[in-house]
Assembly symmetry: C2
């Protein structure tokens, strides 16, 4: 009774609208039901199959979507390849996804621009007018930038950073507002990406075809076009600031990054993204008070935030804020008990309460929940190191580096292990590698100096401490190392000068009390020396490794 | 430097387009970044906040979305209330969600039709033209049907079936193609829903305002309008068939449901939805062979399907298909180890291999993964019953009924427990209640007969068996019970007639072998009787409770 009209284009169009409306309103089972009807009427139509698969994907039925598409890839439908590769990314079948997208390169690369006129036009979003007006002219098909972005993510999955970076650059070329692509590019630490986010790219890669591709643009008045261009320039200018700031941050050019972000308007500075970046930047330069200020502000703005809270929890660990860390860990766990970040915070809490075995269990749970969670491996490594389990410490630091070769914190950890094992060459290699990633971290620079001292190169060591002191004149660690170094070179008057600076600078710092202990020791006042050591130990129970090492050197005398 | 233009409507529109494009292409972190920028520029604009919250919701950050909106509800923004209530549904704060949606009833109920002209017009989707053309004129705001649907789901969450049904009816009124709403309505077993999906409703609730609400419709030619109306009629006709079929199924009017679904076109019959329903319908009428046929076909079409596989696994259990059930259970577990359905299938497998403790563990895992998974409680109940643990069996059957009062299988289970406890009044009550839900299930009817026999009402019992026999002339169970009953009433010639019918009908049925055992027993051939009993026991190890009962009654003599 109901077959004569089943392929009527009006009926099909009606069903498509029902499906897309259901998807837009999160009524997925309804979308699937209508999709089945569409397929029953029009099963050979690739666009109908695409809509069905989109419905599967939106429901999170990735294995179903994959299975449905795997036999249809020979049709060379770009939407199919996109959804298939998207499933591949989730199912970790990276190479398969890359292959399928790469095979259809001619459909979305710039060279295919002229041919683009189908419904699923991947250059739809590259014209100024469509980009601007997308809200009112949406497309269910991926555009070129989306496809390049996906390719980049797939390459990232197989650790092919070169091709990953190349494709993120392409994604940005086709959509300058794909800031996520830009961030990934920065995280990969790829140079030569300067061109990827340029101001005023309105005469960019798609220079002449605007009008040809976009029939409606002729109806847009010249005034509107001018307004659109103006808004484009303004917005790009704003994005460039964020891009510059983030790039500096990824190069650990923290002072510059802070300066750039501080140049933003007050309202921009109050957004979660900026607050979290400022919090991390100040953390990186060991400016804990200021870092705490931004993290507290961020938590006030959004107490349900998960992102970056692993760093905040480590910050609270450094600041010995047991109460705050307890709150944070519990709240994160309440928000999502299956979040790796929450378990990271809980691990830090156990570390602070000196329960290293429990802490390690938590970090293990975190890496089980997210096997690519670099930071948890590093924290686990430090925990093992604190327990003198060097073997496990090394293993975890190396796991960190496997996931993220630029994770300097793990290189620092490895260096510390080798120092403790007396293998100064290897320690030197890892500290210098860490410094090459994060060149202005005073702790790392002091570590390099420390190894130089061990190798007997006292003058070179002193130069490192001086560099660190220059970078952060108020940080007591370089002054301490410098003073200590001068002391060991028997340049007592100079050493004493720094000791005194230090005393005023940081009366609450553990290292200062160590230093005072050392001073008293020189004066043969053992009683006062031991008192100061004890205060220092209480202030920094797990022991900043450097201070501990200083204590050892003291005992040796 | 960048504040003078920040509230420029063109810049805001551009950002909106960036956000929506990112959402459409699953680039959620990018959408969130751009949303933050939008809020920084235009933080007081409710539409900007809505877009930000939509981005949170799409990312699955339900607690963040909830927290963000909870303080903004006084603004009486329908989109806010919608997203908030959607979060409430997921976070199981049903009443809160209901309250917020109900409070804004004046914004989406029919009485507010005239006032509807904002961007977030909830009646946008109710006009024929917009409905038809939605793909090209999408909206990021919920429409009235979506809101009623959500209200219905929330009411369902607090077991308020009356209000749930009322709101599903409203959802259908505003969108006749919300088949999910229709299905839910049927599952609630609410009568008086006949009007909810009517053919040709183009002159339905929104009769006159089409042109007023839809400026573009004037540009659509009369011919197109006619085509749209034609397609609407066709599609509604098709949906009505599905609706009728599903409604019959929910009333366990299985034969009629099968007839209706079989009237569909061949291509419709090959879709997953139809195949799964036919599989279940044949299962319900104990037509296992045919049920298997449809489930096998369904699995061939989509081997990654999860839905309804719990029923298929029980079917395989009934058919003693150990190999197939092993495959099914393993494949489902591979697809999703956290799926309650998969654990149901595994439980059935253990049940089949006679490991009841393991089976119960699996069913427990299933209900832990999905605490509203009625069927798993019922299977657990049967497993406990098979183990003679009546207390736990009752508890689980009752849990089933708490979630779904129309789950007749649990009522059957309770009846069986009371029969075994000798409480025939209670058994009678539960069997009759089960029959009132599923009036044509021959097993249930035989159960009623069985209790009547126990109560000494042999003639009434015989009438039940005759009714069951009439409903399914080829099903051996009613014949068996009938013959047995006649036998006990010493009407030997009549009894013998049925015994012979039975022998030809089902040589592989356990019950028949029992019967044969009984026959031999009459003839005092104890050796053959025991042989037949043994065959029967091997065919149905866990024992169809009825047959076991028959054996008992035999022993008593």
């Amino acid at each position: 009774m109901q077959s004569e009209q089943s392929s009527d284009p009006y009926v099909l169009q009606h069903l498509r609208s029902i499906i897309i409306h259901s998807l837009d309103n999160f009524n997925y089972s309804n979308a699937e039901f209508a999709s089945e009807r569409l397929l029953a009427m029009d099963g050979d139509n690739l666009e109908s199959i695409y809509l069905y698969c989109l419905t599967l994907f939106r429901q999170g039925k990735h294995k179903s979507c994959y299975a449905r598409l795997v036999d249809l890839l020979s049709s060379n439908h770009l939407g199919f390849a996109f959804l298939f590769a998207k499933c591949c990314l989730i199912l970790k079948k990276y190479q398969e996804g890359i292959y399928q997208l790469f095979r259809l390169n001619h459909l979305y690369s710039e060279s295919s621009l002229e041919a683009a006129n189908s419904t699923a036009n991947p250059f739809y979003f590259t014209t100024n007018h469509n980009k601007f007006n997308y809200e009112h002219r949406r497309s269910i098909y991926p555009d070129s930038s989306t496809i390049y972005h996906l390719l980049a993510s797939l390459y990232k999955g197989i650790n092919d950073t070169k091709n990953s970076a190349l494709n993120y650059v392409q994604a940005l070329k086709h959509n300058q507002y794909d800031f996520e692509a830009f961030q990934e590019l920065c995280k990969l630490g790829k140079p030569g990406i300067r061109a990827s986010l340029k101001r005023n790219n309105s005469s960019g890669i798609i220079p002449t075809i605007n009008n040809e591709l976009d029939p409606q643009s002729t109806t847009v008045s010249m005034i509107t076009m001018k307004e659109i261009e103006k808004s484009e320039n303004y917005l790009l200018g704003l994005y460039v600031i964020f891009a510059k700031g983030f790039k500096c941050m990824c190069k650990y050019d923290c002072y510059k990054a802070i300066r750039i972000l501080e140049s933003l308007s007050e309202k921009e500075k109050e957004t979660p993204w900026v607050l979290s970046k400022l919090g991390r930047l100040h953390y990186e330069i060991v400016n804990y008070k200021q870092s705490e200020y931004f993290f507290v502000k961020l938590r006030k703005l959004d107490r349900t935030r998960m992102e970056d809270m692993e760093y905040y929890s480590t910050l609270l660990w450094h600041l010995h804020r047991k109460v705050e860390l307890t709150y944070l860990a519990n709240e994160l766990h309440d928000l999502d008990p299956n979040s790796a970040i929450a378990w990271c915070a809980i691990g830090n809490l156990f570390s602070l309460t000196r329960e290293p075995d429990e802490a390690i269990k938590c970090f293990n749970k975190a890496t089980k929940l997210d096997e690519n969670f670099t930071y948890a491996y590093t924290l686990k490594g430090h925990e093992y190191f604190g327990n003198d389990n060097y073997e496990m410490a090394l293993e975890n630091f190396r796991l960190s580096l496997l996931i993220d070769p630029r994770h300097y914190n793990a290189l620092y950890g490895i260096g510390m292990v080798y120092i403790n094992l007396g293998d100064y060459q290897r320690a030197d290699y890892h500290f210098r590698k860490a410094v090459s990633i994060n060149p202005i971290n005073v702790i790392l620079i002091c570590c390099v100096g420390m190894v130089l001292e061990k190798l007997g190169k006292k003058n070179l060591a002193l130069r490192q401490y001086e560099l660190a002191n220059k970078l952060q004149p108020l940080n007591p660690l370089p002054i301490f190392k410098k003073a200590q170094s001068l002391f060991s070179m028997q340049q007592y008057p100079q050493a004493l000068k720094y000791f005194e600076t230090l005393k005023e600078l940081a009366p609450d710092e553990a290292s200062v009390h160590f230093l005072l202990g050392q001073l008293y020791n020189i004066q043969n006042d053992k009683f006062q020396a031991i008192k100061e050591f004890t205060i220092a130990m209480n202030l920094d129970p797990k022991g900043n490794y450097l201070i501990r090492e200083a204590m050892e050197s003291l005992k040796e005398k």
